[in-house]
């Protein structure tokens, strides 16, 4: 079976968890003998093609006079880029992007319809323009390749998936890694919501990364429950050598938050829990790693609570620094208000760090060896942190069994479930 897959990013050029998940999934599918043609807006040439054939959408040209493509424009509407669509920018970057956005918005339509288009493949100012262009190219690519199933990851690629389906009549599976509600709380971008809803309605199957997301898809988007299947994410086994000789440089226990510092990740609850722990035991250090539009607010709050000597900010961590951060950590906390899945705790556990996760995360549905609290329960969170810092029996148990547990979460298994979804829609056809 051959799959035409639309993604937005592919390792090593990733900004969030989407690229990592796509990579893991395609590798798993390859193990089960499936062929995947993976389309990205922009390929850099150094992507791993061990499991997929990569198609670079920037290289695809379109004939702007073709009616079918022109008519597609009617459905692709101009949308303003809001902060929530851009997942990973700091406060200054956001200001800058907004400014660029205002300047750039004029010639939108003409550029989408140019014959050749260079995608950035990022989440920048031209995001909506790129999404529209990507959709245009979807049908063009579909006619040029031979495949059995179309698989589209997240809203950015849904329109491309739908276009490919309309052109070829092949079944469409859309994959929901994060909904607009996860990104924006209740203040959703209605255009993005509309793209998501239409994509799922047009799809033959919707795969969600957790039951939590499945419920949102059914309740908030009105998608037929029979169409929606949960396939939990997995995690790649670590191929990095242990950080040889890396030594923790502070005596205190280190408790870490690592992720975007945005509303839905619940950074505020981490700060408040830190305050409670520090009141009881000053010999703990808290680290908030990452950046995002709530960073300055968190810094100000930490200063207000007068715990800046025990609560540190690292900014965005790259490459080795993430591993270093885990190597220094004694507890990892993910207090997300809404987390469709949440792969970072798995990475922490893989690095022998016990984790505290919110019950409002998809990953809590499958993890046993993690302390689960409600995101708003800062007392419970503080308790859990304090316990993992002080009771060695507890933390050692979590480290030992947690590592085994994570190692058993293989993409191979997740890919098997995805394959079963393919089989079903293929047969139905």
């Amino acid at each position: 079976m051959k799959v035409l897959m639309f993604g937005w990013e592919f390792p090593p050029h990733i900004t969030g968890g989407l690229g990592t998940a796509c990579f893991g999934l395609t590798k798993g599918l390859a193990k089960h003998g499936l062929e995947v043609i993976f389309v990205v807006p922009k390929a850099y040439g150094d992507e791993s093609e061990e499991a997929v054939r990569l198609v670079n959408a920037s290289k695809v040209t379109i004939d702007i006079d073709k009616d079918e493509e022109r008519s597609y424009w009617d459905r692709v509407q101009y949308m303003e880029v809001g902060s929530n669509i851009i997942p990973y920018v700091g406060p200054e970057d956001f200001e800058r992007l907004q400014e660029e956005n205002r300047k750039a918005s004029k010639s939108f339509k003409s550029r989408v319809f140019s014959q050749k288009y260079e995608f950035s493949g990022k989440y920048g100012t031209n995001l909506m323009e790129e999404v529209a262009r990507y959709a245009l190219i979807g049908s063009s690519i579909a006619t040029k390749h031979d495949f059995d199933i179309i698989h589209a990851h997240d809203w950015l690629t849904y329109s491309a998936g739908v276009a490919a389906k309309e052109t070829t009549g092949k079944p469409l599976v859309v994959h929901m890694h994060a909904t607009e509600f996860d990104r924006s709380g209740e203040n959703i971008n209605t255009d993005v919501y509309a793209i998501e809803k239409r994509g799922m309605e047009m799809a033959d199957r919707v795969i969600t990364v957790s039951n939590l997301t499945r419920k949102i898809v059914i309740d908030r988007y009105g998608i037929d429950p029979k169409k929606v299947v949960t396939v939990h994410n997995a995690v790649e086994p670590s191929n990095k050598p242990e950080l040889a000789g890396f030594q923790k440089s502070v005596d205190e226990k280190v408790v870490t938050f690592l992720g975007r510092i945005t509303y839905q990740k619940g950074p505020e609850y981490f700060v408040e829990a830190a305050r409670k722990v520090l009141k009881r035991d000053p010999n703990v250090r808290f680290v908030m790693a990452g950046t995002g539009d709530m960073l300055n607010k968190m810094v100000a709050r930490v200063a207000k609570l007068r715990m800046g000597d025990k609560f540190h900010f690292t900014g965005f961590l790259k490459g080795d620094d993430v591993d270093k951060m885990f190597a220094m950590s004694d507890v990892f906390v993910m207090p997300s208000i809404s987390e469709p899945f949440g792969i970072v705790p798995l990475e922490a556990m893989r690095s022998n760090v016990p984790v505290v996760i919110s019950k409002q995360s998809g990953v809590s549905e499958i993890l046993k060896h993690a302390i689960k609290v409600d995101f708003w329960d800062i007392d419970g969170m503080a308790d859990a942190i304090y316990g993992l810092c002080h009771y060695n029996a507890l933390s050692e148990t979590f480290i030992r069994f947690g590592k085994d547990e994570v190692d058993s979460l293989k993409w191979e298994h997740a890919a098997m479930q995805v394959k079963q979804v393919y089989d079903k829609v293929y047969k139905q056809q």
């Binding site: 200054e92 440089s249 502070v250 005596d251 250090r285 680290v287 960073l295 300055n296 810094v299 100000a300 200063a303 207000k304 007068r306 800046g308 000597d309 025990k310 540190h312 900010f313 690292t314 900014g315 620094d321 270093k324 220094m328």
Partner: protein
Amino acid sequence: MKSICFYFQVHQPFRLRTYRFFDIGKNHHYYDEYFNRMIMRRVAEKCYLPMNDILMKHIGEFGANFKVSFSITGLAIEQMELYAPEAIDSFRRLVATGNVEILAETYAHSLSALKDPEEFERQVTAHSRKVEEVFGVKPVSFRNTELIYSDKIGAQVADMGFKVMLTEGAKHILGWKSPNYMYANAINPKLKVLLRNFRLSDDITFRFSQQSWPEWPITAEKFVGWLNKINPKEEVVNLFLDYETFGEHQWASTGIFDFMKALPGAVFSHSEFKFSTPALLAEKLQPVSAIQVPYPVSWADEERDVTAWLGNDLQDESFDKLYSLGQKVRQIDDPDIQRDWNYLQSSDHFYYMCTKWFSDGDVHKYFNHYPSPYEAYINYMNVLSDFMIRVEKHQPDTAAMLGELIEKGSQFVKMVGAQAGEQLEKASGKAKQAIKKGEEKVIPVFDDIRNLSDAKIKKLVKDLEAEDLVAALKDAEQELVNKVLPNLSRATRKKFEDLQHEMKVTKKSAAQIRKQIEDKLKALF
């Protein structure tokens, strides 16, 4: 005879490098040498050297009639020594003419006067010592960091022996009064106070190149014209400026150097004014009244208060955390700790964390290498956290030998216990005898203590329980107790004293105490 009092401020902080969380506890190097060197070189070449030359020429031409004063912070002197020694030589030559007064201030350009009087005094002393060492003169007039002044600070400065202090002639402290007189401190009238004429000073510092200003351009003649408009009864015009005004804040291309070249000549030919310095003015002028300054003023921003450095949470937390270390740091005899303690106090670090951008944003951005106050805070707190660990860990002289002596102490206790145990096994009746023997063994060891160094005692007693000590020392001479007591950790000492107190209160008999020792020894086997 009316006077112009020129005072120039020279300061450069040791700016911090990007110091990350991963560095805490591991890397104790905090400063951006490249950046600091670059700025010092630039300022020396664009400002200090050319401006010093101009002043030198004026002194050559007008002799004793031309005088100016400087304050140069300890940190600026250190950086010139490191990166621009020719600038130090140039200042030395100026001071050597006798026409240039060097003022006292805080070594680190710190805000210690607002928080920690003891630290304030230490820094003023350290700065005076450094000035004497480098320039061979002892400062007699005082100016505080950023001209920060209040009645209380003035009174402390008077107590330190200074006769005159400089501050801002802020509108809200002067009201209808003129800054152009000598004033006195409101608590201690012996301290004379000179007030900055902010209008004329700012004409040079801020408005010199401002082309939208109706008076632009300022020439020496025009400026002297303004001086002549001042009421003839007034005594002194205090022009207090950042030295970097010349060539740095106002570039050479604005004509600032030409202005300064022409000014003294114009003053002497077109006015009655003479140049003077704070020390000379303090001898000559009598205060017209006391100046009431209940809350600190400074020369910064429109508000002329201390909100450029303190007031928001970022600033207040880092400032309070820093000064909570003062007591401890002053007891540590370690040049690295002392150096960093000075460097971390410089007011600039808190200036970078200022969030009131609107009225004075431009000034705040000058020489500021942080993209935002939040980054300034994060970086400073990372450095401070590391510094706190170092201060905390600093236990002079004990650490190295500890293990060995603890071992010896516990071996001894075990030995006594074992011997007593053997005896007990042989015949329980003889137990008391054995214990007595044990006690006899304890006493000689404590006798040896007389000959031990404090460090060794510290190690020896570290692992002993307070209860054991009370029992062991109960009959000891006071001399012995005095030798042991200061070497206990604070917690043990407290416990020890409590126990001793308890014993006195309850007047336990000697037998009871012996019983306690018996129990202790029994517990050992």
